[in-house]
Subunit: 306 residues, 2 copies
């Protein structure tokens, strides 16, 4: 008898349909909550429905969540169940966003995009540039993969300082100032914790120097936005491309909208349209693994909450 | 006794200094025109000085030019001498420009760069996109190298139809319509000849379709700009990024400046600043080869004129 998987809630029809297809592709039987042993959560914005749904699903042992970070489920994580999330799933489109940001900034495409007349020539190469990445997770690994043909010198900064493959050097967070000195761009791809909040502060911006672009693909809270505004105005850094802001959305009153060396994108490192096939693939792969008794991808440590 | 190389004219001091250093790096003796066996031409905008300088250089057997195309020297090419040019030298920064253009267009960075308020999410992936390149030369090879990690399906269109390595398929120019159908982007990287003038005309734009970006890194004359303006206005193609225009510079009166789905960059695929170290490397390599009696890179066929 095949094991039954439920996809719920059905409040986001496009995601529900994609996950239903993914479960079918993996060879599992779809069923209602009352008979299901696994629950694929199908609406990232409806965490509040969880208590009601899980009460109707007494046989569920495993819950797959659609998030990279599981903060909306923090209150519901129950150590009697197995939880998986979308860790690493969205790294590739975010790394693509970083490449777009690096190339726009270094080649001055942000100026050309806004021009209505033939400009003077300008721009620098990403080819053979020095790139420092804060963070050593999935986005960094995907970015290093995309950067492979460019001959860049990549420095990674991470908590542990444990070497990242294919990086020229890996430094610990304590050595961040050394790591950003002389860089053509600094990419923020860290998890946001008490330790990394405002890791990009006035002092780090000063270490970056006037040739350096700041590219934030992580969380707005990593950057002291007051210090950033001052550095951009004074051109003590070359510019910034931000996919995340603090607060977010960034209000129209922010001076950052009006600085020519600052571009803000509306948290689209991974859009819903890009993300859906990626998370659907993860659902399919995890259902296949679950049926085969193999280890699941993206396990959440309930005691740590991520 | 070492063989003497002259670097002339001295009308562009930065280029003259770079070439002088490059000749020294290669181990040749620098000297005046009257004793030189080789002449490294050091000002792309001073071809008119050539008759006077060569008259003062009776022993010169080889002339290295700083151009990718040698049109300014067309009247001076003398089959008694060996001529080399910068063929292939500038392909890499131009391929980088193409990557910047593809990512800006597909990810909608041209809209975000001009925004002064938080936008709705939008954008598509270059990852796994279908890219058609018109042209099978150095820029195309460099672009294919940079695209290697992106999982794109690359179609190359070239006169001969002779297969290009690492392209999914190579078609002849006669099959251009088939090649662009369904593409996410069409990149123009051809030489401009009578055969390729207006290769991107109203009919080809129609074959490209509303999902497709046009990226022109070659010459303005490849594109029928009237047809392009109409296609961009009607959104029968997604957009265009042009590094070259017709006429060039594009006058302020052109409607292309005011279309939100068209970005014009001022012929900066390869800027002077980017190009100088590349051509200096070529000079150094060719002087080394010349001293060692090896084949020179970038030989010009005087009878063909390129």
């Amino acid at each position: 008898m095949s094991r039954i998987v439920a996809v719920a809630p059905d409040t986001r029809p496009v995601m529900h349909a994609a996950f239903t297809a993914a479960v079918g592709d993996a060879g599992a039987a779809l069923g209602d909550l009352d008979a299901a042993e696994a629950l694929i959560w199908a609406d990232p914005f409806a965490a509040g429905l969880y208590p009601e749904l899980i009460a109707a699903a007494p046989a569920v042992q495993w819950v797959q969540l659609p998030y990279a970070g599981v903060e909306p489920f923090a209150d519901y994580l129950d150590a009697r169940l197995t939880w998986t999330c979308a860790k690493g799933v969205y790294a590739e489109p975010v790394a693509e966003w970083v490449m777009a940001a690096l190339l726009m900034g270094l080649r001055d495409f942000h100026l050309f995009a806004a021009a209505d007349s033939w400009c003077a020539e300008s721009g620098r190469n990403l080819l053979r540039a020095r790139i420092t990445v804060l963070g050593g997770g999935g986005i960094t690994r995907s970015l290093i993969r995309l950067l492979a043909p460019w001959g860049c010198e990549v420095t990674v900064v991470r908590r542990s300082g444990e070497p990242v493959e294919a990086a020229a050097r890996t430094l610990a967070l304590a050595d961040a100032h050394e790591a950003v000195t002389g860089a053509d761009a600094v990419v923020v791809a860290l998890a946001l914790t008490d330790e990394t909040r405002h890791v990009v502060d006035a002092a780090l911006l000063e270490s970056m120097g006037p040739q350096c672009w700041l590219v934030n693909a992580a969380r707005g809270g990593h950057v002291d936005h007051t210090a950033l505004g001052a550095a951009l105005r004074a051109q003590t850094i070359a510019g910034a491309v931000l996919d995340v802001t603090d607060p977010e959305p960034l209000p129209d009153s922010s001076e950052l909208w009006r600085l020519p060396n600052c571009v803000i994108t509306p948290h689209i490192g991974n859009t819903r349209e890009m993300g859906l096939p990626l998370i659907a693939n993860r659902v399919s792969e995890n259902v296949r693994r679950w049926l085969a008794g193999e280890d699941l991808l993206g396990l959440v440590d309930v005691s740590l909450g991520y």
